[in-house]
C-alpha cells in the first residue's frame, strides 16, 4: 500500500505539480508549434508519451544496470541520445504506417521529438531524483509524457477557442499564444510545492 502511494504520488507529481512544460519550460517547441488543433495536439502528446515512456525506462535500465556498475556515468548523455533517437525512429515508422494523415500533419515536428527537451529531461531527472527501482522509473516517465499531453491539449483547446475571439491586431498569432502559455503556467503554479 505504501509502495502504491509512492508510485501514485510520483505520477501525480510529474503530471500536475512538476509538469515539465509548466514548471521547467521544457518541450515548448512542439507545445507552441503543434497546438493549433486539438486532434493533432493529442496525437503529438501520445507520440511524446510513447517516446518518454520507452526511452525513460530504457535509459533507467541502461543507467542502473550497465553504466553505474561500470562507472561510465560520463557517457550518459551519448547513450541517452542514442536510445532517444532510436525510440523516435520507431514511433515515426509506426505513425507513418498506421496514421498517415497524422504523419502529414506532424511534418517536421515528428522527427523533432528526438530533440524534444522533455525527453532528455526525464531521462536525466530520473537520476537527479534518485529513482531507485524500475517500476518507479516506468511510472514517472509515462507520467511525464501524460503531463506533456495534458499541457499541449489544454493549450490546443484554448487556441481553438481563441481562433474565434477578437484578438487585437498587434497580438494576433505568436504574441497571444505566448501570453496564453504564460497565463496557463501561472494557473498551474497553484499546485507548486504540494508534492516533493
Amino acid at each position: 500500500m505504501d509502495r502504491f502511494m509512492t508510485l501514485l504520488m510520483g505520477f501525480l507529481s510529474v503530471v500536475l505539480v512538476n509538469n515539465f512544460v509548466f514548471t521547467k519550460f521544457l518541450g515548448t517547441c512542439p507545445y507552441l508549434g503543434v497546438s493549433g488543433r486539438i486532434d493533432r495536439a493529442l496525437g503529438m502528446g501520445l507520440a511524446v508519451t510513447f517516446v518518454t515512456a520507452l526511452s525513460g525506462t530504457l535509459t533507467w535500465m541502461v543507467d542502473a544496470w550497465v553504466l553505474t556498475p561500470l562507472h561510465l556515468e560520463i557517457t550518459r548523455y551519448i547513450c541517452y541520445i542514442v536510445i532517444i533517437a532510436g525510440a523516435v525512429q520507431l514511433v515515426e515508422m509506426y505513425v507513418r504506417r498506421f496514421f498517415p494523415s497524422l504523419y502529414e500533419a506532424f511534418g517536421i515536428f515528428l522527427p523533432l521529438i528526438s530533440t524534444n527537451c522533455v525527453i532528455l529531461g526525464i531521462c536525466l531527472f530520473l537520476d537527479v531524483w534518485g529513482t531507485d527501482n524500475l517500476l518507479e522509473a516506468v511510472v514517472v516517465s509515462t507520467g511525464t509524457g501524460i503531463g506533456f499531453t495534458v499541457a499541449i491539449c489544454i493549450m490546443a483547446a484554448i487556441r481553438e477557442e481563441l481562433a474565434l475571439a477578437d484578438v487585437p491586431e498587434a497580438l494576433q498569432g505568436a504574441p497571444i499564444t505566448l501570453i496564453t502559455a504564460g497565463l496557463l503556467t501561472l494557473a498551474f503554479m497553484g499546485f507548486a510545492g504540494m508534492i516533493k
Binding site: L72, I74, I83, G86, L90
Partner: protein, 293 residues
C-alpha cells in the same frame, strides 16, 4: 622526471580502462537498436506508389507554391490522383507538363501562350511626385499603409516586396520601379501575390515583346498628370487607333489575348501623349519619353 612519466602513463592506463568499456557499451547499444529498427522497418514498411516518386523527380523542386500545394511532393501526389492538375507547375511550364502527361500515358493540349507578369506602372523616381521623403519601414506593405508615401496612390512603391517574393531572382527594382527580367521569369505569380497595390498582373504572353498600358492610376487626367509624368490620363487616343484598347475609369486597358503586332498598335503606342503604352518582354525596346505638353 620519473614521477611525471609515471603519472602520465597511469593516466593513460586509467583513460584506456575507462574507454574500452564505454566503447563496448556504446557499440552494444547501437547494435541492439540497429537490429530493432531493422526489424521494425521491415514490419512497418509503407508502400509508396512508385509513380509519385517518378512525378516528383520530374518537378523542378523550386517550392514556389504556384500550383496551390504545399510543396512539389504534395503536388506530385495530387497530380497522380487528378490528371486535370497537370500544367499547374508554372516553373516547369509546358515541358514538365508534357513529361508528366507522357508518364501517365495521357496527351495534353500544348497550345495557349505562357502566362507572364506585367508591372502596370512605368514611372521611375524622376517621373513621380513625392510630397515628402518616406522614412518608414522599408517595405511596400508598410509604405502602402501610409497614404502619402508618394503622390500616386496606384503606382509602384519600389521597396521590392515582389523582389523578395521571387524565388528565381527575376525581379529587380530599377530606379524605383519593379522590373521583371523575362529571361529568368517562370510565371509562377509569387510577385503578383506579394504586391500590396495589385500592380503586377499575369497576362497571356502571346507575343514577345508584349504591349501594355503601364499604369494603374484611376484618377482623372489632370490629377494623374500632376502626380506622374508617364501616367495614363484616359484621353482615349489609343482606343481610337485600335479597338483592342478600352478606356474605363480614366484608365486605358489592352485586351492582351487579342494583341498582335500591327500598325494600329504601333500608332497607338506612338500617339500616347504620356508614353504610358510600352513594350514588355525579353526583346522589348526601351520606352520613349512622354511628349512635351
Amino acid at each position: 622526471m620519473m614521477a611525471s612519466q609515471l603519472s602520465s602513463s597511469s593516466m593513460l592506463h586509467q583513460l584506456w580502462s575507462t574507454a574500452w568499456p564505454a566503447g563496448v557499451t556504446m557499440l552494444g547499444l547501437a547494435l541492439a537498436f540497429a537490429i530493432v529498427l531493422l526489424i521494425a522497418s521491415r514490419r512497418l514498411r509503407v508502400e509508396v506508389d512508385p509513380r509519385v516518386e517518378q512525378i516528383a523527380g520530374l518537378l523542378p523542386h523550386a517550392g514556389c507554391g504556384a500550383c496551390g500545394f504545399a510543396g512539389c511532393d504534395q503536388y506530385a501526389q495530387a497530380v497522380l490522383m487528378d490528371a486535370q492538375l497537370i500544367g499547374r507547375c508554372a516553373p516547369g511550364g509546358p515541358d514538365v507538363a508534357g513529361r508528366i502527361a507522357g508518364m501517365l500515358n495521357l496527351q495534353i493540349d500544348r497550345s495557349g501562350p505562357p502566362v507572364r507578369p506585367i508591372v502596370l506602372c512605368r514611372a521611375h523616381l524622376a517621373d513621380r511626385t513625392h510630397y515628402a521623403a518616406y522614412r518608414g519601414i522599408p517595405g511596400c506593405m508598410a509604405a502602402n499603409a501610409l497614404a502619402n508615401a508618394q503622390a500616386c496612390k496606384f503606382g509602384c512603391l519600389g521597396f521590392g516586396d515582389c523582389v523578395r517574393a521571387c524565388k528565381f531572382n527575376a525581379v529587380r527594382v530599377v530606379d524605383g520601379l519593379a522590373t521583371v527580367n523575362y529571361r529568368k521569369c517562370t510565371g509562377c505569380g509569387a510577385c503578383s501575390k506579394a504586391c500590396p497595390r495589385n500592380l503586377i498582373v499575369r497576362v497571356p504572353f502571346g507575343h514577345d515583346p508584349m504591349m501594355t498600358v503601364a499604369c494603374s492610376s484611376r484618377e482623372n487626367g489632370k490629377t494623374t498628370r500632376a502626380m506622374c509624368q508617364v501616367g495614363c490620363i484616359g484621353c482615349g487616343l489609343c482606343a481610337r487607333q485600335s479597338d483592342t484598347f478600352k478606356v474605363e475609369d480614366n484608365l486605358a486597358r489592352l485586351d492582351y489575348a487579342k494583341y498582335a503586332p500591327s500598325g494600329q498598335h504601333e500608332a497607338a503606342c506612338n500617339k500616347c501623349p504620356t508614353a504610358a503604352i510600352v513594350y514588355r518582354g525579353q526583346s522589348a525596346p526601351a520606352p520613349r519619353p512622354p511628349n512635351a505638353k
